[in-house]
Symmetry: C2
Subunit: 435 residues, 2 copies
């Protein structure tokens, strides 16, 4: 029996010059678009530098990933423009139940958007990748840059895998993923979404994982942060706001008093643009305990909180206690968990808080990049690394993040010191940042 | 981004009239060819009826499998002829280290071989499928008939599975299979082969399993009983002889004395045709204990035994004890285990006999048809059933198999009674026949 090989497909495959990782400007997190609209409205002149930081220093990325390949991928991403159907979808779709969340004037401007220049150097085995320019442009590099570096690393890890080995790897990764889905099927009121774009193994793998959650969890899978996948798979786009907002506003604040007020100023700005379920507080940029201690009463009227670096149980309890002090019934409120989740931690938090508060889970790295133990021979390059792309400075002033986990703090040492003086020491023990 | 669909492939898929299960006369067990050559030489006129028996009576096959589909597959198999390259391979290859194991005169005859007619009825929800005619022809139906019925059953079980469900099912089946490979990798001197043609989930799945063993076990995977796969994957074809030989010779024997001698007469016939590593005794047709009690000394000079229905440990010990009584060092001898194996029982037998005897394992149903627990929603139709195709009679005389497991006995009740009187009662407790 002859094996029928589709020659056109085969030739297409073996003449690949570039297999682009990011093929659409919508292959990014939804909250970037929400933040972009606000930043463009309120901070159109602010200059912000984003910088790639590999916290897993043992992995010398520049020795794993070819610099020319990285440049080719970044350059390809810079060539992208919004397509007609993408613009139609952004304009015509409802997000979080709201029509025309993106104003026509913003969309007119966004239609011509392209990613700005980047600067890439290799220093001591690591890439120094920075994006400098107007905040309205540099902020849009974070997600594609991370997705590109992570996927180039996966590709490098699999470069020498044999055909059969790849078959086993993806079969086992699927089996592993499906075990997690089956574990989560036991949680009847679960609300979970994909937050895994930035750390994904690959775009195709993320798409498979999203399909698995859709098939396996039905309505309990509430959507994806990835705008492109939301569009393609007819899912809700999920996400609200990120640390870059308080980090930039804090960096721009004049003096300690203004610095201390900046986390609340961010929220005031946010609610000028958005309402309803988009009113989710991200309290941990400079420590949740400090945030709550000085938080004005009106913040308790927001829909919920996203504890993003505290241990889920303790972090959730701290916020519930604050709501109760504010005279608010937590049952009406929402906790969005999004830090270091996996099916076990999701189940644990779910069972802990069940019936006491509304919950949703934004599942990231362990959703879209859990290849640990699936290769027939261990391939360490498949283990996810802790790679982030953070605000380094705003209008030339250094930016800082403290977080609830001291291991996640970023910024220059003396500035971190100053912020700790203003906001107080971390309330939680330092935890290893696994991914 | 547009999804590129290969239209030719798609149209080919959706216009499938018949997806043949057996596409080659070599898609059968190697021992059938060895036996066929001998039967043709020594018993060319013997008429033998083979009959399909579904021991898993709870599965009403005729309600699961469409009769017309079954006929279409059987008819397709009847249309097959040996191809030129198959004949070249049979003539030019060495089997068990022997060149020209198939004599030119046999191959000339075999070149024109086609499967004979079948008779198919439906009785009480089961198929009555019988093959009557010259032994030289009916014997060749056993393996394709079993493979066809088993694969039609798998297809029926998966008929309503959604695309994503199929993806999960095969991913998990592969993951499950690879776990077994990893378990077996720990056994350094393992010798194992695929014996799973008759009970396979499907041809393509068997091929994947064979590839998995080849990739995962290297030289420890010594080959496959499937002649077609051996040819395609450049593997050794494995197998020697089967119960049909003693069953037919016993049925033809005149009187109890000749009946009692028939299991040894078979071996005398065999060694007129084959030598060396093909001298493997299958002792359990009428009970191993009885066989050994009356076995002539020369049988101890054969390469080994294949205990096929006794519990592996006890069955192996019984044979080792016999070798020792015959003054033979078991270390020089071979035990081929082939009954109800899975990675656990293989490991158990391996560790039990390690260093005391040479061993090899012929892995069947749990290699090529273990889909238990892999479907997102349980699909009972994927569980293997105990389906066999046995000699019912020879030259009009009823055939019997006693085996070392009374649950595997076949034949008419009064004949079974007579055989038990001649050969003695089973030495082993009855065990459930799982697959």
């Amino acid at each position: 029996m002859m094996v029928a090989t589709d020659i056109a497909t085969r030739v297409w495959n073996h003449t690949f010059k570039l297999d682009p990782i990011v093929r659409s400007l919508l292959d990014t997190d939804f909250y970037k678009l929400l933040m972009l609209q606000m930043v463009r409205g309120l901070h159109p002149e602010t200059q912000v530098t984003f910088k790639l930081i590999n916290r897993t220093t043992s992995v010398r990325l520049a020795e794993v990933i070819d610099e020319a390949e990285l440049r080719a991928q970044l350059d390809y991403a810079r060539s992208l423009r919004l397509t007609k159907r993408e613009m139609i979808w952004l304009a015509g779709n409802s997000f979080y139940g709201t029509k025309q969340i993106f104003l026509p004037e913003f969309l007119d401007w966004f239609e011509d958007f392209r990613l700005p220049e980047y600067r890439l150097d290799v220093v001591d085995g690591q890439f120094e990748l920075t994006f400098s320019g107007p905040w309205t442009h540099t902020m849009m590099w974070e997600i594609p840059a991370l997705a590109i570096v992570n996927e180039l690393r996966s590709r490098a890890a699999l470069r020498h895998a044999k055909r059969f080995e790849l078959d086993v790897i993806y079969a086992r990764a699927k089996a592993k993923m499906w075990e997690k889905v089956e574990q989560l099927q036991k949680l009847p009121n679960l609300r979970i979404s994909d937050f895994g774009t930035r750390r994904r193994h690959s775009f195709l793998w993320q798409r498979w994982c999203v399909e698995a959650l859709k098939e396996g969890l039905g309505d309990r899978f509430i959507g994806t942060s990835n705008v492109l996948l939301a569009m393609e798979a007819d899912l809700e786009a999920i996400g609200t706001n990120a640390h870059e907002l308080p980090m930039v506003l804090a960096a721009l604040a004049e003096g300690d008093e203004a610095l201390k007020a900046s986390p609340y100023a961010v929220l005031e700005e946010w609610q000028r643009y958005y309402g309803g379920n988009l009113l989710v507080v991200l309290p941990d940029t400079f420590g949740t305990t400090s945030f709550l201690k000085s938080a004005p009463r009106w913040i308790a009227d927001w829909t919920g909180f996203r504890p993003d670096s505290a241990p889920p149980i303790e972090g959730g309890e701290e916020i519930i206690a604050w709501w109760e002090r504010m005279g608010i019934d937590p049952k009406e409120k929402l906790l969005v968990f999004s830090d270091g989740l996996d099916s076990d931690t999701i189940e644990e938090a779910y069972r802990h808080f069940e019936g006491r508060v509304r919950m949703s889970f934004g599942w990231g790295t362990n959703l879209t990049n859990d290849f640990r133990g699936v290769a027939p021979e261990p391939i360490p390059g498949l283990d996810p690394i802790s790679l982030v792309c953070k605000v380094a400075n705003a209008d030339g002033r250094p930016a800082v993040k403290l977080s609830d986990n001291a291991a996640k703090a970023t910024g220059e040492a003396d500035e971190v010191e100053r912020y700790r003086r203003v906001f107080g020491a971390p309330s939680y023990a330092e935890r290893a940042v696994r991914v």
